[in-house]
Symmetry: C2
Subunit: 309 residues, 2 copies
């Protein structure tokens, strides 16, 4: 069970991440997409399914968004209404800025019914759709009050550590606020990840804290345009990896190969230092070859975990 | 011959770097040190001997210098007066801030006598011993006027690239000013080096420039105090490498192993991208085991170059 693995701080937790269908689909189309999701995911031997809560994010930069933003279904509703057949535990992302105290409390009440099947990650986003948006701090407080047993994760961004050198402190502060694991933004910058992990382990040791799992997100990249989109989202891709990707002639498979190497480096790095490392393979694209690449990457990751177990 | 290898932009140029004896030695002691240098270096199969021009550098930081500063003999005079027996081509560092136009011109005249045996690297330092110190730009101009045939190198600092992103431009600007190769500061930050090399190769390609050799300096580290001194000098050591070094129980051999891995990564990186990479093994310590470690590292580096040739 995912909850147990998280609470035992196990190595090698494996997640698979998808986005719910876009809201401009018909009911019939959504059901078809859901069936495909169920078929694909029930065949994967994973610990949990991540469902993203997609936001526009256009207000975080002045640069033009490479892809237009189209809203997606609420991940919790999609999971509950369309994926019931699927028995895989869920990790549902919640962009807390889209909620008020009332609507968030209501959702937290609802999560009690899901028991150990429902996990969540709160994202403190810059969306201002609500007049009195919830802050991350308030959301953590409500979670502890309404459903403290909900197995909650936080976001970790190793790239931020390179500039501000305090990502490990943010992580421990979120841990104090009841986060039991962390999922990173998509990682192509291994160096930033290693520097973050080192400070994370050092701080834990110095303060006698236990380390919770850090789950690194890997994302196959299907085209130069997707690469630009990743950069637009704030993902740091070292210049030499960007060149390798662009000059490979097959960016999708080169990105799978790179991501596999990145995971192996981080997983063995964690093993050596006693840091529980997991993996979240993100499949946010809809092209068939990109979906297949995500499944291929997932299998590679499982092989790496097996190799070192 | 070193000059030919540089001008042919060859891969795998190998240098060995030493500091001249300190000035507080007696004439007899200096002769003894010189004899040891001659014995050691004549047994090494290298392309050139680097002789450093040591400066205090205390004015570049407010932090306390971990080791006291003691002046060393002028590297050019030491080479000329004490190492004549040694036939290895020399690369003599010149801290141009210690000269006036007159004294520097005189030295440049003197270098003509050495022919292809004498090479130099000018360092634009913050030393203010002279009232009208020479700038790097003026020194390059004098070199072109007085002895344009002198095979001149420049300093490259990949770490600087991480912050300012313009080290490749500095390098090409120095190349325009007649530098024919570059020697880096001691490198423990492979990531910075790879990012710098990528921009160096990209800029060369975009502007149809030829790439000159980049010679990476490796320095075995014999103690925690030396490690602190390296950091004081501005050398970036990623936190995880610093931990590996400190926790190894044998920092000297761990640093040799790390330096060897760093060189292999950079050398193969250069081979893949057509960038001529060389190596300068620095032996600035005087302890016997540290000197032996530098010779061991040099042999490892030679084996790597052979392996990929």
């Amino acid at each position: 069970m995912l909850t147990d693995k998280i609470r035992n701080k196990e190595n090698g937790i494996i997640l698979y991440g998808i986005t719910p269908p876009k809201i401009n689909h018909t009911e019939e189309e959504i059901k078809q997409i859901a069936q495909k999701h169920i078929n694909r995911i029930s065949n994967l031997d994973i610990d949990g399914l991540v469902l993203y809560d997609i936001q526009d994010e256009s207000d975080r930069t002045d640069e033009k968004r490479p892809f237009p933003f189209i809203k997606t279904l609420d991940p919790c509703e999609y999971s509950h209404n369309y994926l019931q057949e699927l028995k895989t535990p869920r990790i549902v992302y919640r962009a807390v800025g889209n909620y008020t105290t009332e609507t968030f409390t209501k959702w937290l009440e609802f999560t009690k019914e899901g028991g150990q099947q429902v996990h969540s990650v709160f994202v403190g986003a810059a969306s201002h759709e609500q007049k009195n948006p919830l802050t991350l701090k308030e959301a953590y407080k409500l979670k502890r009050e309404v459903n403290n047993n909900l197995c909650l994760g936080g976001i970790a961004i190793p790239e931020r550590h390179t500039k501000k050198h305090d990502e490990h402190l943010r992580v421990f502060s979120k841990k104090d606020a009841s986060c039991e694991y962390f999922i990173t933004q998509c990682v192509y910058d291994v160096e930033a990840a290693k520097i973050f992990l080192t400070d994370y382990a050092k701080y834990a040791k110095e303060n006698n804290y236990e380390m919770v799992p850090i789950i690194f997100t890997l994302t196959p990249c299907g085209s130069n345009k997707t690469l630009d989109f990743m950069k637009w989202l704030g993902i740091n891709i070292p210049n030499y990896l960007e060149e390798d990707l662009k000059q490979s002639g097959d960016i999708l498979h080169e990105s799978v190969k790179l991501s596999k190497d990145i995971f192996e480096e981080l997983y063995t790095f964690g093993l050596k230092r006693g840091i529980p490392i997991g993996c979240n393979v993100e499949s946010v694209a809809i092209r068939k070859d990109e979906i297949e690449a995500s499944v291929e990457l997932l299998e590679e990751v499982k092989a790496i975990i097996k190799k070192y177990s």
